[in-house]
Symmetry: C2
Subunit: 182 residues, 2 copies
């Protein structure tokens, strides 16, 4: 889903139809209210998730929702107001997989400019191998590297994060990866 | 400036006054349009910036705009749609300081939950020590560690990033720092 640069049609403060123009002290087109002068900014949003590991296997969830119904993903979702990126990653792991984890540090930061998102994945250690997938997942299970369904992954950022993980594991050295997937 | 969890009063799609309630498939209160059913999500936004270094000194800018007019900051600002975090950090460094830099990697990721922001700072190497501050800065200049105006810094995330930098420099080892400043 591409972001729509003109998704705002009415002022959030007073409901008047907005105009798209470059405000006086700005250099980008914004939705500006001709009645109350509110300027509406649109910015990329963050998706936070985890790469949970149990022995030599990683946890994936089969999506029960669109987009990408039925495809496999790492637990992840939109960061909410009032929570830190770590708290959001833990919450999504609980909501989507019912998995109990310890976070092990930020692992990938991936710009997805086409949809106006930044994806942040944390490495995590599973505290036990029992899951209770929530309403957003059809199934949650562990995969060894050879079992990963590479052609059935839901998102490019999940594929890149898994690829980094298995490469780093072979090198026996995990480090932050910053990527852009366009 | 605290974020306002009820800043949305009218539907962006049709202008009708919204209601705040928990949508059927959700667990958080959202602004929902009673006329067209649009759900309005609000999420934390990203501030991207750099810590530009020339020999043993770092670049700071004196703010010419509110908030924190007249206080010192690292070049930073809101990530825009269509750009990567790296592109945003470079753009802000150019806009606020007119500084030419090479980025050296993501250095701090700081949650500022109180205002609904995530701040990402990159270490950077200044290509020359000549600056051309833009309209948002009164002045741009280099500071050695002993010259840093610690009591006149504009933001806690700037203070934390500078503190990490000078500590790491003493240890001769730079690594990613993930922090929360509440």
């Amino acid at each position: 889903m591409l972001f729509n640069p003109r998704a705002i049609q009415h002022c959030r403060a007073c409901g008047t139809a907005v105009e798209y123009r470059v405000p006086a002290d700005d250099n980008r087109e914004r939705a500006v209210c001709p009645a109350c002068a509110t300027v509406h900014y649109q910015n990329p949003i963050n998706v936070v998730g985890t790469l949970p590991v149990w022995e030599d296997r990683v946890l994936l969830c089969k999506r029960a929702i669109e987009p990408r119904y039925g495809l496999w993903t790492l637990p992840a979702g939109f960061l909410e107001l009032g929570e830190t990126t770590e708290q959001g990653a833990l919450r999504e792991t609980d909501e989507e997989a019912g998995a109990r984890i310890d976070l092990q540090g930020l692992y990938t930061v991936i710009n997805v400019t086409r949809v106006g998102q930044v994806h942040l994945f944390y490495r995590a250690r599973l505290l036990d191998p029992n899951f209770l997938p929530g309403a957003e997942s059809l199934e949650a299970r562990l995969f060894s590297e050879g079992e990963i369904p590479w052609d059935l992954l839901a998102f490019r950022t999940v594929r890149e994060t898994l690829r980094c993980f298995f490469d780093d594991r072979r090198r026996e050295r995990f480090e932050l990866h910053c990527l852009d997937v366009g």
